[in-house]
Amino acid sequence: MTDKISRRNFLRGSAYGLGALSLGAPAIHLRAQEPVLRCGVVTSLSGENRFGGNLTRRGYDLWAEEINKLGGVEINGDRYRVEMFYGDAQSRPASGADAAERLIIRDEVSVLFGPYTSGVTLAVQPICAKYSVPMISGSAESPNVWLEKPRFNFGMIPAVDHSAGRSINVIAEATGAASVGVVGVDEPFSKETAEGFRNGVEDAGLELTRFELFPANADLTPIVSNLKADDPDLVAVGGHEEVLINFINTAKSLDFRPKAILMHYGVTAAAFADQLGGDANGVLGISVWTPNLPYRDDLFGSASDYDELSHSRWGSHPDYTEAACSASGLVLQDAARRLGKPPAWERQARLELVEALEETDIETFYGPVAFEREGSHYHNNIRPVPVVIQITEGRVVPVAPGDAAQTELVYPLPAFS
């Protein structure tokens, strides 16, 4: 099989080489003929959300590299190489829209892989609608992305209102924590995370000692001092990686150590434990994917195979954002196969692709994927079940609920080393 493909590729390559030599045709002429699948990536490679943005890019890239090793995406028995084009959204909605339009018009991409934040996603959605280009978002966790029922946008990760609240309940059951202090950065995603935590606290009938939002630029000593004065069993923080690192540093410097501390999003990314070293241990987080899950697929193999592959490619262990982004590629592959039309796809084919995406029902190393067809989570994949993880000796380890747990949840936390 592989032999055949490589021979075909070889023949095809020689034909183009000959063609180019003999005709001296400009590259643009070749481009129209070349059987490739052109994919665009709109994500924040700079600006305040560059951290998550770059993680999404790693995930998308890894899929493209792996599928190209096989010769590309298979449609009707032919293989089409994947070519990736990038647009930096600069963490700004307007730049995201510029980037999307550029990728669609200039680079003639047939499909987009989506941004990291809700603001950029919301600004890109109308562009997708304008040109009927489907967009698969490997990482948009804000529930408000799905509220307006975006026809062309699909999301791989369950929105955070789904996962944050439930995790509080799971932790309370596992530990017996009775009081919770919730704080979060006043920015779209982190705020929704904090509100999810708060709702979880109320649903579980726990005592909410404090609910407070703070601006991303604020010094954290006032807020940590207040939490220390309340002294809840569990502190839940909604924020991105930088704020979470600062939070731990500040808590340590003010000698504040709650019995348990839960943070989202960023603790599952390798950089968190890398940068905090021993102080990261014991921090709880939420993840919809971990490398020890029993899922598998044909391209990446099992979840742990993916973990190894990503580690050898990027030098750090992947978190669920990277995994979900790589899995976005699998979703595209599957929908393209069912669509059965060779790229580049014209408008009609792209509309059919959207329908094919809506009918997605596959299992990947990342877990099962199927998109909601109605309701407040329209086009969001809410199949993955969030688990509570704990940083244990620098690694992300699932600790709750019971059936997913690999080790005991450490509670209460020992003093800082």
Binding site: E101, R102, R106, Q125, N144
Partner: protein, 324 residues
């Protein structure tokens, strides 16, 4: 006093304008939607730079707070176009201008007693304050932002920006170079006490300039909100908006009518070009920074000094300075 441009010069400028307008009107027929988007951006930034130049270049007050007025326009339009209110887009424009002019007139008096860097940073503080306010209010959607109904017609936005930008430039040219208002502004820029001594009501003149500039900025904010369809405090009130306006004016030529248009065009096109060429790494940022630094070092009068007769603005300035 200030020399009036010669008749021949006037005719030449007029012809260039007519030709330019005709070219810009026909442009959408010849370029793809992405390029049209860039040109729409150029028009918006050119208009914004011109608005800033009224206060910064002609009145000599360096405002770091213009993003506040951009945000006011964007939010007035954004809020009034939410499904609950459902106002048509065009009806929101005058309201945005009204609010911005009102705010500018209210804060202009006390704030414009400050000079130089104090004024600059006071306006910045004001803009930051407004941005923080937008994040804690409910009506603005807080940090979650507002989505506007999407109107997917690139020609509409192109021609709206074009009409507004042209009107702004013609108005600015007439007002600043052909009327007493313009002379008064320049006089107070060059020497405020002297201007006052010759009977110019300086406070009134500079607050008028500030309000005018704020109104124009707000107008572009409104159009931007409808164009991009999503606004949040950072993207419409963040300091980056003001920074961009300031840098464009400085690059183009401070205190000249057409300098800001030139600066906006060059900077925005360069920005988008290197962003798209090198967009998959951050290398375009240092390149952009280097370009700005080099222009300052080697073309301190702005790009307009490269054009024939482009230094006229500064000629006027030096002559006036020498007189006082």
């Amino acid at each position: 006093m200030v020399s009036k441009p010669s008749r021949r010069r006037l005719v030449a400028t007029g012809l260039a304008l007519v030709a330019g307008t005709a070219a810009l009107t026909a442009l959408p027929a010849f370029i793809d939607p992405y390029s049209l988007r860039i040109v729409t951006g150029v028009l918006m930034w050119a208009g914004l730079a011109c608005a800033w130049n009224i206060v910064g270049g002609y009145a000599g007050y360096i405002s770091f707070g213009h993003s506040a007025f951009f945000g006011i326009g964007a939010y007035v339009t954004g809020i009034l176009m939410q499904s609950g209110v459902g106002m048509p887009f065009l009806a929101t424009l005058p309201l945005g201008i009204l609010v911005a002019v009102g705010v500018a007139a209210a804060i202009g008096g006390p704030t414009m007693r400050l000079r130089g860097a104090y004024f600059a940073i006071a306006t910045w503080a004001f803009a930051e304050m407004l941005m923080q306010l937008a994040t804690v209010l409910d009506i603005t959607g807080g940090t979650g932002g507002l989505s506007l109904p999407a109107y997917l017609n690139e020609f509409f936005f192109y021609y709206t920006m074009l009409v507004v930008a042209l009107a702004v430039y013609l108005g600015a040219w007439y007002l600043l170079e052909r009327t007493r208002f313009g002379y008064r502004l320049k006089a107070l820029r060059d020497h405020e006490p002297a201007a006052e001594a010759v009977g110019i009501h300086t406070t009134r003149v500079k607050v008028q300039a500030f309000a005018l500039s704020a109104g124009i900025t707000s107008l572009f904010g409104s159009i931007y909100a409808y164009w991009v369809t999503f606004i949040d405090p950072r993207s419409v009130m963040g300091p980056e908006i003001t920074d961009q306006m300031v840098v464009m004016v400085l690059l183009g030529g401070l205190g000249t009518v057409w300098g800001p248009a030139l600066g906006a065009t060059v900077l925005w096109v360069t920005n988008r070009y290197i962003w798209s060429e090198f967009g998959d790494t951050a290398i375009y940022l240092p390149i952009l920074g280097l370009i700005i630094a080099l222009i300052v070092l080697f073309l301190p009068n702005g790009l307009i000094s490269l054009l024939p007769g482009g230094r006229r603005g500064h000629g006027v300035l030096t002559r006036l300075l020498r007189k006082l």
